[in-house]
Symmetry: C2
Subunit: 223 residues, 2 copies
């Protein structure tokens, strides 16, 4: 483990542990020792299936998405995890009865710290940790309902504008049409048709593996 990364991880997680108001100093040390520092590369995936219980993942630096995959290969992004956010890697870590076949994919090279499930079981009796979990689950439920509403009630142009505003770097999305259509739960053909239309309107410019945003105000007004 690189010592710089060790320090960085320590301060971020130490803050989280403090927020649990743990009075048991041994437990604090136990948690810090149990943390696994792990780097993932862009596009690497973790399969969050019902069989495995991987623990609680903290994003230290980078970005990930949680998505559903259909048998036909269609995808829908449920929500995104930015630096400072965390994710229960399987609800099975806490309860055995729940089925959720979803996938976590890193959207860039990402540094994480993982708190293994053995520690989560110890924290199950900690009221502040349980409040933290309730809060986290309520947030994810809210985000998933929002996604459900957007995918069902909103147009592809609106979905594109929301994705672009959230994910562009220097006013560009560095992504192929196939990848982007996966994020939006669309087909590549529909997306390409939309992007050609938006190019004609001067809102985007389609380059190779890059979509340049030309008119950000018009992008914000797409619905």
């Amino acid at each position: 483990m690189n010592s710089n990364r060790g320090l960085e991880m320590h301060s971020f997680i130490a803050h989280w542990i403090d927020s649990l108001m743990l009075k048991d100093l041994d437990l604090k040390q136990h948690i810090l020792k149990a943390l696994v520092n792990k780097n993932f590369i862009n596009k690497e995936r973790l399969y969050i299936d019902t069989q495995m219980c991987k623990g609680l993942l903290f994003i230290l630096d980078g970005k990930a998405r949680i998505f559903s995959l259909s048998k036909q290969g269609r995808e829908i992004d449920l929500f995104y995890l930015d630096a400072g956010e965390c994710c229960i890697l399987s609800a099975n870590c806490v309860y055995n009865s729940v089925e959720m076949d979803i996938i976590l994919e890193f959207m860039q090279d990402t540094k994480t710290a993982i708190l293994p499930s053995s520690i989560l079981h110890i924290l199950k009796d900690n009221i502040i940790f349980q409040n933290f979990l309730t809060h986290l689950l309520t947030k994810r439920l809210s985000q998933t309902i929002t996604t459900l509403n957007i995918t069902n009630f909103k147009s592809l142009s609106y979905k594109f504008s929301q994705f672009a505003l959230k994910n562009m770097q220097n006013n560009s999305l560095y992504i192929t049409h196939q990848e982007l259509s996966n994020h939006l739960g669309s087909t590549r053909e529909s997306l390409t048709r939309l992007l050609k239309k938006l190019e004609k309107q001067g809102i985007v410019k389609n380059l190779r593996k890059e979509i340049k945003i030309q008119d950000i105000d018009a992008l914000k007004n797409l619905n």
Copy 2:
């Protein structure tokens, strides 16, 4: 309050309170006294918005659905509540930060008991109640992800078959095409087209405000 209903409510909720393993007898009595016994009629709605905090609703007898409503009036059922299930009537009861504009609609005349939010605040420090909440939220998250996958990845005929298998009474759905299309997040026109096709195939028979299932095995195999 009718004394029969009082008894019925008592035994159902008393079991729930026992499961919390509350050692504080005063608190037990406090919870039982705070419960509000309330009957709703078919189609009655509770708006679960971000402003209100209504408590925890137990379905004693009857059925309800939780659904999203778009500005254009389109609906999607997120999940159903049968007798013996319960629902946090607003995440705001526990946390203030979460936005979820969803509606609860009773699908038949329904008897409920509501535990007001004031009691939920007292139970916030009860570890077993918090575990119960975590479990409930995980279940709702899982159900919402399943709904998201079905609405996005599955055909209307599959959605119809799943709804019919879950909601038919004596092999019939007593519902108009408009109501049914609301449940399925579809338009009335698409649904009527589907039901005509299924009638030609001998799977259903379309009557006034009734869809009779003629071939249940074929219904189960729709995809």
